[in-house]
Symmetry: C3
Subunit: 332 residues, 3 copies
């Protein structure tokens, strides 16, 4: 490759419970255990539960949300499961907070923040003792300056830090040409914001959140590949300016295909990991390993992506062979 | 789980030949045989061929439809195949009638009814002797009162009962927020009918069909999960009032995802089976086992749904292991 | 089957690099090698790389395209890989030219032709010595008379023939009811061109390209199944009139389903192969084996399509068994 730059490895992944738009794999504890093992085998040390609840769906039996929002009590406790597996496999677990799907999109920011602070209290009391509980993730995703959401980040982030002294992560997205809803029939829109406006808006956001948020991991999939590096560079500069850690959230699904969504072509992922390496982000996480990069995924394309990824980084072939053997012994 | 109610088991499934919108798995007799075995292993005793023909596509070499509608002669006789396997595996087979895809949607109800009565005669003569032939399914799906379709149910249903003395089944759907076409880019619509209007319209439908239809199995996927039980309750009350059997058609695919359609999250299916149990439906069937719940499905998520389903109902682990072994011996 | 006609076998396939709309399988050399073996096992002797580049994505490290179009240098050389495997497995390799995705769709035909002639020179010098290099494929797809594209076919085709003395192939599509973009939510459009207008426009196209193009392989998926044969017949008559070889490009994916795209139902493919046989096309190729018909595909429906295809043509069961055994020994 001309102008090749060594790429940075992915060392963290979201756990997509509860999912917005990716069909569920219906894994139980055995399957999740096996997948944590696969994550670990390629150097992943951090797992981020994407949200503890979305609308009425929950990952744990939250008294707060069942009483106040009439949420559904879940059949299993995913938080306990993920913490148990994080302890077993030596992972740092980040707890994703609640996305009502309604209050913050209709401007009722106070309600969204109040709910999340109550949840943080409930969760920290219930799961805080786990040695794997290492951080908080505020699950609201924005692509430009929305003062009410910035205020939500501040209120919720500061509360989490006060009760736990643990880092707070957010993962916004870029207002690029691919920032279209998953339900849209078109894959691109005509005009994204120019990068100067992007920088200016996010300068304001970073300034607002600098005391409440410790890590920002922008999603890298909403812009054309030729400008990914430019945007990652802006992100990194802003993060340094406000003394916030800059991670990159490398999307491992393909936004350019009519099927929404299947695993990304390795070449595309590699380009984004090279860009992340070049601008010097501190860490790369992905959305997400279990559907799109895992040898256990229901999407077989992901098995091959896993192999390409390992080949590129020169990971142990013997280990690869062992995993494949297990796969063929019916542990898939 | 708070307020847990034991769920009712699925004991019937559609066979999706000819499909409207689910891609074909390209199974031959061997694969179908194996899948009937898997159905039987989880207690399924009833299979309903969803339609014998749709537009020009046929499941058997129908003289009526080839002559009158210029349908295509199929490469294999699915009716004979499904009856043979139903006999072998002890299943009750329901024969799904013809959906022209045009006459009834453009108001030519008489033509649709006439064709279906001629088909019933042809089919009863040809396949009636099979001991597995246990009922008829009128394949036209409506979500509100359409007098011409009700009249079609009556004409076709009464004819089938007259020639065969076998029960007649229909499977309508609820006019809920998710009642959008599979081709729509949005997953929900703004306004479904209020439940009082639903009850009033379906009261009229039930009154109209009471002498011609023996079983009504509403699809359970077009309404929000918090109101599924309310709608199932209306269905059950109406069925009792008119002395019709009330089954529930539990959809095992996920209507909330941009990929249309992959297997449902087990939690969602479980909620619907609990609601069905609570209102006291006589039987639950699903649309459908072979794509969405089967260990043989091309969608691997279905294999996991099968396992979650078996775990919940405490089904034989040894049997599960044996099935998985077969899967890994290349009989997939 | 009534009125059965023996079908013609598929003896060629596209290799979908770079893809427009089919998610990548992330295969490396080992997986491609295995797939060429599977192709060969069912009589495929011709592979056509669908395009050497699309927009910024490349299959090989093209100086022309990297310098002039700022294309991305690819992580592996697919042209070298496919030629190597073609030599190993005795395949005829057709090289697909470049689709800018912009110049020809905005009327800058000269730019599109100039680029492609420069690429042909570069490619012929670099890869021409391979004994497997047997032809050229001009990758621009049209469904009606567009004089600028016809002129592109002529300029590029004549140039390729001059430098190499190898045949030139194109694969247009029919302006039928299914000629809608992959991103469209509807699967059909109201009005395609009448077949008489189709014949008249394509008569003009054939007249224009007769000295520059040796083979025309129309895609067979954009029209209703009942008229496929009529259209193939027109294609064949026109080809004979202008002394051009007539192949058929039998699409092996299903255009009638909301998931875009999964493998086609075998019955549909069979009908198209019967129509192709009946009108007497010289050869059938498919788009494409590796995703939609292969025992190695990430879509398991394709494995079953492969089996149905082999059963129909009475292909060696032992060989089939061996392939399945390999699959289960983890070489999938």
């Amino acid at each position: 490759m001309a102008e090749s730059h060594k790429a940075i490895q992915v060392t963290g992944t979201f756990l997509d419970e509860i999912s917005h738009d990716i069909p569920h794999q219906n894994w139980g504890e055995k399957e999740w255990d096996k997948d944590f093992e696969a994550m670990k085998s390629v150097g992943i040390d951090t797992v981020i539960m994407i949200r503890c609840g979305y609308q009425k769906w929950l990952t744990y039996d939250s008294k707060v949300l069942i009483q106040q929002e009439k949420c559904f009590s879940p059949p299993i406790d995913y938080v306990a499961l993920f913490l148990r597996l994080s302890e077993k496999h030596g992972m740092n677990f980040y707890f994703g907070l609640y996305d009502s799907g309604k209050y913050w999109v209709s401007g009722k920011y106070k309600r969204e923040a109040d709910l999340n602070r109550a949840i943080a209290d409930e969760v920290w009391q219930k799961y805080g003792p786990s040695p794997a509980f290492k951080g908080w993730y505020i699950s609201h995703e924005i692509n430009h300056l929305i003062p009410g959401v910035v205020d939500t980040y501040v209120k919720v982030g500061q509360h989490c830090k006060t009760i736990s002294d643990l880092p707070v992560l957010i993962s916004p997205y870029i207002d690029g040409t691919k920032a279209v809803p998953a339900s849209a029939s078109s894959l691109v829109k005509e005009n994204g914001a120019p990068i100067t406006q992007y920088e200016s808006e996010w300068n304001e956001v970073f300034d607002g959140i600098k005391d409440a948020v410790d890590i920002v991991a922008f999603q890298d999939g909403h812009v054309d590949f030729e400008v990914v590096e430019d945007y990652l560079h802006v992100n990194k500069q802003l993060a340094e300016k406000y003394d916030i850690q800059c991670w990159s959230n490398c999307e491992s699904f393909d936004r350019d295909m009519p099927i929404k969504f299947l695993p990304i072509k390795w070449e595309k992922m590699l380009m984004k990991l090279q860009a992340a390496q070049k601008v010097g982000v501190e860490k790369v996480i992905t959305f997400e390993f279990s559907h799109f990069m895992s040898p256990n995924s229901s999407y077989i394309q992901a098995h091959h992506l896993f192999n390409r990824y390992k080949e590129y980084f020169g990971m142990d072939e013997d280990e690869l062979t062992q995993l494949l053997q297990k796969e063929n012994q019916g542990q898939l």
